[in-house]
């Protein structure tokens, strides 16, 4: 009688352990708390395990929309110092029946973000072996940032070119006006002295910069 009672008490956990150890529907979990948190790392103990089981139960509840999942449905075994273990999920209706792997995987993937945050970990430090982390959506821009910078630079270059060309044109125009003005004055001298060219032959003449682009004597 006593043996029967004892068996009844100890059977479920034994059976549970067998379910966990031998099953194909289990997932190995690995936590790297010290890597993630450094000095602020917390100790992994029974309470933390309790939290883990409850978050998984929560994930199963959300995924299946059944409020019947309880912490007793999450079985854990192969606990190591690394902080890694294996867990299986039993059906709330039948404790001996396991939830298939794909369903558990879906539940974990949908709620990975919540599970990570419960433990202050990330996809790299809370690993579910066999469940690849969902990739973050790539950032898409309406206009690529490099095109904006390119536009600014090209705009500045265009403004610079236009400004410099305009200043050259205005400089030339001013020089032309000066030259036109002076040549009128010069014509008077020619009429008085005959040829000015011989007087310009003297070294004492002042070199007039306004004519610096013209040759003194037209070459043959």
């Amino acid at each position: 009688m006593l043996a029967g009672v004892l068996l009844l008490i100890f059977l479920p956990p034994l059976v549970a352990k067998d379910l966990c150890k031998d099953s194909q529907d289990g997932f190995k979990v690995r936590l790297s708390i010290k890597t993630a948190l450094g000095d602020e790392a917390y100790e992994w103990n029974e309470s933390e395990m309790f939290l883990f089981r409850s978050t998984l139960a929560y994930a199963m509840r959300k995924q299946s929309n059944q409020d019947t999942y309880n912490i007793t449905n999450i079985l854990v075994c192969n606990d190591t110092q690394r902080v890694s273990f294996v867990f299986v999920v039993t059906s709330p209706n039948d404790p001996d029946q396991l939830i298939p792997k794909e369903q558990v995987e879906r539940a974990v993937r949908q709620n990975k973000h919540r599970i990570n945050n419960a433990f202050l970990l990330s996809d790299m430090t809370l690993e579910f072996m066999g469940i690849p982390p969902t990739l973050a959506t790539p950032i898409t821009y309406d206009t690529e940032p490099w095109l904006i910078v390119f536009g600014v630079v090209i705009g500045a270059v265009a403004v610079g070119i236009v400004a410099l060309l305009m200043s050259t044109v205005s400089r030339k125009r001013r020089a032309k006006e000066k030259a036109a003005g002076l040549s009128e004055v010069d014509e008077g001298i020619v009429k008085e002295n005959g040829t000015t060219l011989s007087s310009l032959g003297r070294k004492e003449g002042v070199y007039n910069q306004a004519f610096s682009n013209d040759d003194r004597f037209t070459e043959l």
Partner: protein
């Protein structure tokens, strides 16, 4: 022994000392001038200090025995770099013409040297500005967080990362695929890459704005482009020294290995580096110094610029290797952490039981207990020295290694922007000299009509260079650039420099040259200059040329290709060049080199033909100007007669 080759008519071609003095006093002539000495010095420093100081010198230094490399470098700087620099400055200042004009003045048969300089400057400008376009692309892409080369993009199915990126690294992928979009071989053109065309246009546009009126505009631009690199290098040095592992990098760079001094390659590489780093034989330095006043102390300038160039090389090497030390340490840490994690996961050991410190003992004890499991793990060997000696130079250093280091620093966009602005300024200031070496000979050769303004000439030159430079923005552009770099910018320059020394010392005459220097700077150049100009530097040039020529002609030439289908991917694959490339190589290296003797031969033939058929006597022209000319000739002869009698 003063050998002097016959040089008839030299007196008629050059301005005498009195005429130079008069030109100086009256400020006559329409030659442009520097606004002040600082502009001239900054322009020359900018031309000499270029990308090579940042990405070639540190590699050479580290691979040829670190601190010991300084010995051949400094010796050859003194015996090869400074004399050649002084020579170019002096002839530019004396003859007051660009490279073509100067050589035509010295001897019309030496016109080929000027033309060769122009060709080399043109070819180098083409590909050098493409490098600037690449720098601008990276600069444009630095204004985002996270930087695009810090992570692999996700593939089309959103199931994982792009395979090419996963097998190599995010920085490699960004460089080879998203920047260059390189094809697997040089014969596959791969088409023009539109984003690179935009960057090329912006690079040539910026250059055009700075060179639009010649030194009038470049003189203003160099205040920024020549000084900013030093500011950025200092900022990077301070940042680098605060990073972990930087001191290891600097120590690795400068640890001397005196055995390397016995290796002739060390000396030849040092000589080549000194030569190319000074941007000699491009013709740009001759042009720049021709805008100086005739009594400028070119001897002092040459020494100062050489010292600045050497200092910049060493300074840049320190900065680069502090950052490389940081990157190597990060990689080493990552490698070791990866191994530790694998061991912890396999043996389910608690975290923190294996650290970097006790990794070796832990590994050995585990290996003893379960060697078969360990061998299946494929643990990587992590060696800091091997990471440090991943000797990278050239574009690989700037666009792969350094960008990777930047992604590991906090505030990476800021460092990226600073780094690429520095590279941009270094490249642009060197381009000013290259373009000067193209534009001034074009003017001297009267290719364009004199009535065309300078703006139009520089605009057309920039446009033509931009269009030809489209070769380098196709898929295989990177391979073409490497080709141009190896052949257009190496052998011809050595030939030109050698011809320059022979031309000045033996054709122009070292006696006349010494007198010119006495006139210009007030004292005769001392025995050091005499010895180096006459004997030592030409011999060094000859030795380097023979070495280069023999290695190129004897070895099979390969290029390194990025081929995702090759077996050793991501290592670059060495492929032989197709046979038609040898024609291109001959054109690149041969045309400038052969123009030196061919122009002389061509001119000799023309002279010979002219002697055989003398031209008809000049007819009396019935024009006012001719009459006035005759009148003035008579006046002149009357005056000279008077002088005799008074």
């Amino acid at each position: 022994m003063k050998l002097k080759l016959p040089n008839p008519g030299l007196e008629d071609r050059i301005l005498s000392h009195d005429e130079l003095e008069r030109l100086e006093v009256e400020e006559a002539g329409d030659r442009p001038k520097w606004d002040n000495k600082a502009q001239y010095m900054l322009t020359c420093v900018g031309f000499c200090v270029g990308l090579g100081n940042v990405w070639r010198f540190p590699y050479l230094c580290q691979s040829h025995g670190g601190g010991a490399f300084m010995i051949p470098f400094l010796i050859l700087l003194v015996f090869e770099g400074i004399p050649l620099l002084h020579l170019e400055f002096a002839i530019g200042q004396r003859l007051r013409k660009g490279s073509v004009g100067a050589w035509r003045t010295i001897n019309p048969y030496m016109l080929g040297v000027g033309i060769a300089s122009m060709c080399v400057s043109f070819l180098v400008s083409l590909y050098y500005n493409t490098i600037i376009a690449w720098v601008m692309w990276y600069f444009f892409n630095s204004f985002q967080e996270p930087l695009p080369w810090s992570q692999c993009p996700i593939n089309a199915n959103r199931t994982g990362l792009v395979s090419e990126c996963e097998r190599s690294s995010p920085v490699d992928y960004f460089w080879y695929r998203e920047t260059l979009n390189t094809s697997a071989a040089i014969d596959e053109t791969g088409g023009l890459q539109w984003w690179m065309i935009l960057c090329l246009i912006s690079a040539w546009g910026v250059l055009y704005v700075c060179c639009i009126r010649g030194i009038e505009t470049t003189g203003k631009a160099v205040y920024v482009t020549s000084t900013l690199p030093y500011v950025v290098l200092t900022i990077f040095l301070i940042r680098g020294l605060t990073l972990k592992g930087s001191i290891d990098g600097i120590k690795f760079l400068f640890t001397p290995d005196l055995k390397e001094l016995a290796n002739p390659t060390t000396w030849l590489d040092a000589g080549a580096q000194v030569f190319y780093s000074f941007s000699l034989a491009f013709g740009g330095l001759i042009s720049f110094s021709s805008y100086n006043s005739v009594h400028n102390n070119c001897e002092q300038d040459a020494v100062i610029i050489s010292i600045i160039n050497a200092f910049t090389s060493i300074y840049a090497a320190t900065v680069i290797y502090s950052i490389i030390g940081f990157r190597a340490t990060e990689r080493f840490d990552d490698c070791l952490s990866g191994n530790i994690l694998t061991l912890l996961n396999t043996f389910d050991l608690p975290e923190g039981i294996i650290t970097q410190g006790n990794y070796q003992e832990a590994f050995h004890s585990l290996n003893r207990t379960s060697p078969d499991i360990i061998s299946n793990l494929n643990l990587k060997t992590c060696d800091l020295n091997s990471f440090l000696s991943e000797g990278v130079e050239g574009t690989g250093l700037a666009f792969i290694v350094f960008t990777e280091a930047i992604t590991k620093m906090p505030l990476s966009p800021l460092w990226s922007v600073l780094f690429f602005i520095m590279l941009f300024c270094l490249g642009l200031s060197s381009m000013f000299g290259n373009i000067e070496g193209v534009l001034v000979p074009l003017q001297d050769l009267k290719v364009f009509p004199k009535s065309w303004p300078k703006e139009v000439i520089s605009g057309i030159t920039c446009l033509v260079c931009c269009l030809v430079g489209l070769i380098f923005v196709q898929g295989s552009g990177n391979y073409w650039l490497a080709l141009f770099d190896s052949f257009a910018g190496s052998i011809p320059l050595l030939i030109i420099a050698f011809s320059e020394m022979i031309g000045v010392v033996y054709v122009y005459g070292i006696d006349r040259f010494n007198e010119d220097l006495i006139f210009m700077i007030g004292h005769k150049p001392n025995i050091f200059w005499q010895a180096t100009w006459r004997v030592i530097s030409p011999l060094i040039m000859l030795a380097i040329f023979i070495f280069y020529f023999s290695t190129i002609v004897t070895k099979e030439i390969f290029y390194s290709a990025w081929d995702p289908e090759s077996e050793n991917f991501p290592t670059l694959e060495k492929k032989p060049y197709p046979s038609w490339i040898y024609v291109i190589i001959f054109l690149l290296a041969g045309v400038p080199s052969l123009s030196v003797p061919c122009t002389a031969v061509f001119r000799a033939i023309r002279e010979y033909c002219c002697k055989k058929h003398p031209s008809a006597p000049v007819q009396e022209i019935d024009s006012e100007s001719y009459k006035v000319h005759i009148q003035d000739e008579e006046l002149k002869s009357q005056k000279s007669d008077q002088k005799f009698f008074t």
